[in-house]
């Protein structure tokens, strides 16, 4: 009777099956809601040639920045990558491929991927470099471009609270891309701040239902702050 017990003890177990050349989704917006420990584990495992779908590329030497240091990523799909200097170098030298995608389109491509929808039409990006090579269709007089869904082999998710079955709750703006990415991968691996028994989380307050989650590991988070701004 442990069919729904998804907690693993080690990052090796958590990332079992992750191989060179696979596609990963990484939750987080900047450093907020980032699965820090899982990224560090990939860095230590020498897995390379990854395609990484993540809104940003973290910062130098932290989060996804670690994977860039060891040249483990061959392609990034992101909406904004301005905070990472090594990223800039790798992109300009052509060492790493970068596919910039409007943030809302990126989110919807992932949502669609998880929901079994292969593509959708959006006005976002019509008439811009983003539309190059994409089908255009007019609805009620307005042109839209066809965008295709995204899925991944692994999704690396950061949750605030998880129960051992994989029901998840996020805290504040750490939610961002995490719940949609959790739906769009073959293996969804959750790094949680706190793991509790089934029944302890109020079913009314679950953000990600357990069906999307495959493995859960207890995390330990540094939670770095990118822009520390205060009011006087």
């Amino acid at each position: 009777m442990s069919g729904f017990y998804k907690v693993v003890k080690t990052t090796d177990e958590a990332l079992q099956g992750l191989k060179n050349g696979m596609t990963i989704m990484v939750g987080g917006f900047g450093l907020c809601g980032l699965p820090e420990g899982l990224l560090k584990a990939i860095y230590e495992k020498n897995i390379t040639n990854l395609t990484c779908i993540s809104n940003n590329a973290s910062i130098d030497g932290f989060g996804i920045g670690l994977l860039l240091e060891k040249r483990q990523i061959k392609k990034m799909i992101s909406s904004y990558v301005g905070e990472n200097h090594l990223f800039e170098e790798l992109a300009l030298s052509g060492e790493m491929e970068v596919q910039l995608t409007p943030q809302g389109t990126l989110a919807e491509k992932i949502r669609a991927g998880g929901a079994g929808i292969p593509g959708f039409y959006t006005a976002t990006g019509y008439g811009t470099p983003v539309a190059e090579g994409k089908e255009v269709k007019t609805f009620k007089g307005r042109p839209y471009i066809l965008e295709e869904a995204l899925t991944a082999d692994f999704a690396l998710i950061k949750a605030w609270k998880a129960d051992t079955m994989g029901n998840l709750i996020y805290r504040k703006t750490t939610m961002n891309f995490n719940p949609i990415m959790a739906t769009a991968a073959k293996y969804t691996i959750v790094e949680a701040e706190e793991i509790v028994e089934p029944g302890e989380l109020d079913p009314n307050h679950i953000h990600t239902p357990s069906i999307y989650v495959h493995r859960i590991i207890q995390g330990k988070f540094e939670k770095r702050i990118e822009q520390r701004t205060v009011s006087q």
């Binding site: 917006f29 809302g104 976002t124 008439g127 983003v130 504040k172 939670k223 702050i225 009011s231």
Partner: protein
């Protein structure tokens, strides 16, 4: 005198109405929040997943789990809520935001905007800008009228790669408030002490000047 960044923000804040849901971009648009009159209620949307953004926190209240789209630490107001990125852009793309304020490199007389990419320079990405201009009916562009070399940023046709086509209807610059319609910039207001001739000289696109151009009213 042309307006300061703060004064541009102050003028834009006059466009905000009681009960508006507003998305403010990075740069001058962020400053608009400082000039929202205290007698109206406005909810600020931050596209990373917050509706009801408050001011920056006190040092003791900093929470790494609570940031805005510029990755700055922030607070949430009473009645705020958090949501995922797909929901956030459903609000934006679905036309639920009452007012969007964003910056730009160039705007043209057809209402197209370039704001994310300068060829030859590092491309950092468009973030949510393309979704915002595609989804909002009510967009105000906050920008300098001319660049540092004195070249107009209000053009017959954008030169830089576009963020969106035919989507901008209103601009507030350091020199003027302008509306875009019928393939032209229409001068609505001028900055205090700035002449219509100066604005004409700094506007490369077609500029329609009415007989009377009032000065902006600032506090």
């Amino acid at each position: 005198m042309p307006l300061t960044r703060e004064q541009i923000a102050e003028r834009i804040a006059q466009e905000i109405k009681d009960g508006y849901y507003v998305n403010l971009g990075i740069g001058i648009p962020t400053l608009v929040a400082n000039y929202i009159p205290s007698n109206i209620q406005v909810m600020l949307q931050s596209e990373n997943g917050l509706l009801g953004m408050g001011p920056f926190p006190k040092e003791a209240d900093i929470d790494p789990d609570l940031i805005n789209a510029g990755k700055q630490t922030i607070t949430a107001v009473k009645g705020a809520c958090y949501f995922n990125s797909a929901d956030s852009f459903a609000m934006i793309r679905g036309g639920h935001i009452d007012l969007t304020v964003l910056g730009a490199f160039e705007v043209d007389q057809e209402g197209s905007i370039a704001s994310w990419m300068v060829p030859g320079k590092m491309v950092k990405g468009m973030g949510g800008a393309m979704d915002l201009v595609a989804g909002a009916n009510n967009i105000i562009v906050a920008m300098a009228h001319a660049n540092k070399e004195g070249e107009s940023k209000l053009l017959p046709k954008c030169i830089l790669p576009l963020t969106g086509v035919h989507c901008i209807k209103k601009i507030v610059t350091d020199y003027a408030v302008l509306e875009i319609r019928d393939h032209a910039f229409h001068l609505v207001e001028r900055a205090p002490g700035v002449t219509v001739e100066e604005i004409q000289r700094l506007t490369a696109g077609k500029l329609v000047i009415p007989n009377h151009v009032p000065e902006m009213k600032l506090g």
